[in-house]
């Protein structure tokens, strides 16, 4: 009886905690049914959007954790990327090499911009979001000055493909076909395996050198790590596997199978470890075994013809997804470092962080730099996938859409996770894809669906900010019981009172 109540309580709080996500899932489902679009079309579209946008959304997580709120300033990171893309296209470079050069140009720019934005935010504590939003508009103005007047006007640029035929300013759209288009998407898997192997080799060598210099203690993990990648590299020379790896796209069905196999192996390792190494009681095995069964069930589901059809239709570019996975891993990993712990502390309470000797301003600036650099890389992935670079429009709404996606996933101004980012991207972009068609079916007018999705994206931001303001307000009314975000540490506050007393 008690257990039952407990279950309902848990289920209730689960529903409440995920209310935004659940509401959106319901809207998406309704829109999908209404639109009547084939699943192959929707799933394909959603995965394309995931490729393009997830990286940027993930770039928002670190500032949220560091207490800077939703970073509207990622527009500035996108601008850094676009300047780099322009340079690379102007020099006539392309392919993966051209992309690497864009990264090399964009990164230092983004570091500089992130540093400046961070400095500004430190002077505007408590108003970072509005500052970021306005700063985005301001940066857009400077960007237009650069691209409309300075390039072609002040700096002579002779390139009829890039410059408006009048002789001044950059054209409205730059075609990336033949240079940067699919520069990341089209990297073959076998090349990825090779490059990763050499990188791991280099890292291991550096570790060995550090070990010999007695600055680092090599451990078992380092060798296992190297062994796994060495094995993978070796396997890639088996002809069948080499053939499979020599494409740049992966059919979703294969991707799913591969992911399930890897997860299942990890789970099996866990089981083996707990039986033979930790000698834990058999009861603890229930959970991993159930997980294994679930994986099996998911795999079985792929044999249903309808699902199989969809899964075999969609083809994923491999490298972007690996980069997204890498960023998720990075976001997770950074939290287990001293820097990550400092960020969390600063995000919870600046006054407490300061009293514990953490350099609050520096931590915030680092968070901004990381976010801006990641955003610039995200924009590079976005542009190479889209293939046309809308010079004056590509960056303008990136912050709003990325933030809306993150919030739809259930994140808030103070809390965001990788999972929320990914779920958010899926839901938000599903709605983007099906809303016009649903509007057409429902009102005989695609425009209404279009309005609806714009309404939704801004509406969810407004709602989330209002809810944030509401909780802040409630916090202020309650007496401070510690952890309240007082700008002044406890001691000076008392002193001020005392000095006026006299």
């Amino acid at each position: 009886m008690n257990q039952k109540n407990d279950f309902f309580k848990k289920a209730g709080s689960f529903l409440f905690d995920n209310k935004v996500m659940i509401a959106f899932a319901a809207i998406c489902l309704a829109a999908i049914l209404l639109s009547g679009s084939p699943m192959t079309f929707i799933v394909d579209g959603v995965f394309t959007r995931i490729t393009r946008n997830t990286f940027t959304v993930l770039a928002l997580i670190i500032p949220v954790l560091a207490g800077l709120g939703l970073n509207f300033g990622i527009v500035i990171g996108a601008i850094a990327a676009q300047i780099a893309v322009f340079c690379v296209v102007y020099w006539g470079l392309g392919g993966f090499g051209g992309m690497l050069l864009s990264v090399l140009i964009a990164t230092p720019l983004a570091v500089l911009f992130g540093y400046l934005v961070g400095k500004l935010f430190n002077r505007m504590k408590g108003a970072e979001m509005i500052a970021g939003l306005i700063l985005g508009y301001f940066a857009d103005g400077l960007y237009q000055l650069l691209f409309l007047v300075i390039i072609g006007g002040v700096i002579p640029v002779d390139n009829p493909k890039l410059i408006i035929s009048g002789g001044m300013g950059v054209k409205n759209t730059i075609d990336l076909t033949g240079n940067l288009k699919y520069a990341i998407d089209s990297v073959r898997m076998v090349d990825i395996v090779t490059v990763v192997f050499y990188v791991v080799l280099a890292v291991t060598l550096i570790k060995i050198i550090l070990h010999l210099l007695k600055k680092y203690q090599l451990n078992k993990g380092d060798f296992i790590f190297f062994g796994i990648f060495g094995l993978l590299f070796g396997i890639s020379y088996i002809p069948e596997i080499e053939k499979f790896l020599s494409t740049d796209r992966l059919i979703l069905l294969d991707a799913l199978t591969a992911v399930l196999i890897v997860l299942a192996i990890l789970e099996l390792i866990k089981i083996i470890k707990s039986i033979w190494i930790n000698k834990e009681p058999l009861k603890t095995l229930v959970k991993p075994i159930v997980t294994l069964l679930v994986y099996g069930l998911i795999y079985a589901l792929t044999f249903i013809p309808e699902i199989e059809e969809v899964l075999s239709y969609v083809k994923l570019p491999v490298l972007p997804f690996l980069l997204i996975a890498g960023l998720c891993w990075f976001n997770q990993k950074i939290l287990s470092t001293r820097l990550g712990q400092n960020m969390r502390t600063v995000g919870q309470s600046q006054s407490v962080a300061m009293a514990s000797g953490i350099d609050v301003d520096k931590t915030r600036v680092i968070a901004m730099i990381i976010s801006t650099v990641l955003a610039s890389w995200g924009q590079l992935i976005f542009l190479q996938n889209i293939g046309t670079f809308s010079t004056y429009g590509a960056h303008t709404q990136i912050a709003q859409f990325a933030i809306a996606a993150l919030l739809v996933g259930g994140a808030s101004v103070q809390k965001a996770t990788n999972k929320q980012a990914i779920i958010g991207v899926i839901l938000f972009h599903t709605l983007f894809i099906v809303a016009p068609e649903a509007g057409k079916q429902l009102f005989d007018n695609a425009q209404i669906g279009e309005y609806f999705r714009v309404f939704v994206s801004y509406g969810v931001i407004a709602l989330s900010l209002a809810m944030h303001a509401w909780t802040q307000f409630k916090k202020e009314v309650q007496p401070p019981t510690g952890g309240a975000d007082l700008e002044i540490p406890a001691l000076p506050a008392v002193t001020v009172k005392q000095q006026t007393l006299k």
Binding site: V203, I206, K207, L210, K215, Y216, S336, T337, R338, L339, G340, Q341, N342, R344, T345, Q348, S349, S351, V352, A353, A355, S356, G357, I358, I366, V477, Q478, P479, P480, T481, G482, G483, L486, P489, A490, L491, P492, V494, T495, V496, K497, Q498, Q499, T500, L501, K502
Partner: protein, 533 residues
């Protein structure tokens, strides 16, 4: 000779904007002793501790004079970080804990133990991996060392009882390596009685380990119970350093308060008045005010017509809440009667409409429209409530500029407000002149009851005298009942007929201005005289 002291602060003086808050104070603490630092609000305890901790507020206001020695060596503490490195720790009054973190994370805040990684070798220790196993072990040890076996080091701090939070703070300080001196700033103020007893026990436990403790508190009974020695401050001056065994509670109270009562008010004004218990101006019955930090919890008092009545007591005990409840800024319960009529305080402006005017203690926040002119500040309440300074033209009410101007000029003359004229903005006046503007506005209402809260806070001695004299004058000449709330006992004793000492949200005792210093001191500390012996 100074070697016996762990810490000695010598001849410390500090000025805030020309206002001397510390005048040559000495503080000496031996290793392993519990040293109480006592004094009224405003005696300089907090400033002294801010100096010890090198708080930024000290340096941004011009530093301090004097010398700090630790173990006989002169040192300069210029930031909280240096203080930490010198082995000085603090248990804050407002907890420096993060509710969303667990106990280990909170104890190790800012001092996390990292494991080097390959990346941290290249990019510095920010990229070290956190070693939570080691940290939780040390947190456990710190908790055990203060006898807190029942706090789980992995539990989240949010939702824990306040006492536990305090103990976690203490564990954090203990966990710091090389801690020599621990400051407890009013640690028992927020605790229940049981928790407070436990805390005192823990303090003894810590002192036994050779760590010196500076114990700041208003509860003199606790000082007697736990401290070895004490320093008394009064008005920023060093009074005495004594061993607790050589002093009595009454003596402490007397030393804390004891000072000459300057006659701030001219005796000629003391004309006979007819004060009678039958004519009550203001009555509180089981009055509660829900003002955070200054809660009033069931107050019963009758204030006679024509009386000057004072409310005194320490900060945080609820005296400020009394006036804010009547103004209507915070929710109230219970009854307030003005001349026998019950006030409905849930309606904003109710008190004003019943001829009660106020001067708020929060001059810049509640008292004034800082961006508006002196004239508008003086006249706007009367305009809102009494339709004064307005001309009716049909359905519209229009400001009667000439009348307002004339009235303002009279007030400027009466109170000697130093300003360029009625149109100067209130925000650009000095504190004393701002206070006069507040008072002028209250007088403009022509009230029968005037409630002034901290009327002399932050104003110079000349303005202080003028304000107090004027309060006496309107009391004597116009028969206005005056309720005065003040942290400065001297001030209350110089002009009030009766003084109620507020303690823990209730009237602790009603005293006469010529009662002894010791009696006042004990009442402020919440100790009955019979208990003191």
């Amino acid at each position: 000779m100074d070697d016996q002291y762990l810490l000695s602060m010598k001849n410390i003086s500090k000025e805030y904007f020309g206002n001397r808050v510390l005048k040559g104070v000495n503080l000496n603490v031996k290793p392993g002793e519990i040293h109480a630092l006592v004094g009224e609000n405003g005696a300089g305890k907090t400033t002294l501790m801010n100096i010890l901790f090198g708080m930024p507020v000290i340096y941004s206001t011009g530093g301090f004079e004097g010398e700090i020695q630790i173990n006989g060596e002169s040192i300069s503490i210029d930031s909280p970080h240096t203080a930490m490195n010198c082995g000085i720790g603090m248990v804050h009054q407002e907890f420096m804990l993060i509710p969303e973190f667990n106990v280990t994370e909170n104890i190790k805040l800012g001092r996390e133990i990292g494991e080097p990684t390959a990346l941290s070798k290249i990019f510095g220790n920010l990229l070290e991996k956190m070693n939570w196993t080691q940290m939780s072990k040390e947190a456990r040890k710190a908790l055990d060392s203060i006898g807190m076996m029942n706090i789980d080091e992995y539990a989240k701090v949010a939702g824990m009882p306040i006492g536990y939070k305090q103990f976690i703070e203490i564990a954090r300080e203990i966990d710091k390596t090389g801690i020599k001196l621990l400051v407890f700033d009013e640690p028992t103020a927020v605790l229940t009685e049981g928790e407070a007893d436990r805390l005192l026990e823990i303090m003894r436990l810590i002192a036994k380990k050779g760590i010196a403790i500076i114990f700041i508190t208003h509860r003199l009974t606790e000082v007697m119970a736990v401290a070895d020695s004490m320093t008394i401050l009064r008005d920023g001056e060093f009074v005495v350093r004594k061993d607790v065994k050589d002093i009595t509670l009454t003596k402490i109270a007397e030393l804390m308060i004891g000072r000459q009562i300057d006659k701030l008010v001219d005796d000629s004004l003391l004309a006979s008045r007819d004060l009678s218990d039958n004519k009550i101006a203001l009555e509180f019955k089981d009055y509660h005010v829900d003002m955070p930090g200054e809660r009033v919890k069931g107050m019963n008092i009758k204030i006679r017509e024509g009386e000057i009545f004072g409310f005194g007591g320490l900060a945080g005990q609820g005296k400020i809440g009394i006036v804010n409840g009547i103004i209507g800024l915070f929710d109230t319960q219970g009854d307030v009667f003005a001349f026998g009529k019950r006030l409905d305080l849930s309606k904003l402006g109710e008190a004003l409409r019943n001829n009660i005017a106020f001067v708020s203690e929060d001059r810049r926040g509640v008292g004034l429209l800082l961006g508006e002119s002196v004239e508008r500040n003086i006249t706007f309440t009367a305009m809102q409530i009494k339709d004064q300074f307005l001309r009716r033209i049909g359905p519209m009410k229009i400001l009667d500029k000439a009348k307002a101007d004339q009235h303002t000029r009279e007030m400027i003359k009466l109170f000697d407000i130093r300003c360029t004229g009625p149109s100067q903005t209130a925000g650009s006046l000095s504190g004393g002149n701002q206070q006069k503007v507040c008072l002028a506005r209250a007088i403009t209402m022509d009230p029968k009851i005037l409630i002034v809260s901290e009327p002399t806070r932050g104003i110079d001695i000349g303005a202080k005298k003028l304000v107090l004299e004027y309060l006496t004058k309107i009391n004597r000449e116009q028969g206005t009942t005056i309720v005065m709330i003040s942290s400065e006992l001297v001030e209350l004793r110089s002009l009030c007929d009766r003084i109620a000492i507020v303690s823990e949200g209730k009237v602790f005792s009603v005293m006469k201005p010529d009662d002894s210093d010791a009696a006042f001191g004990l009442a402020m500390a919440g100790v009955r005289e019979e208990e003191a012996v």
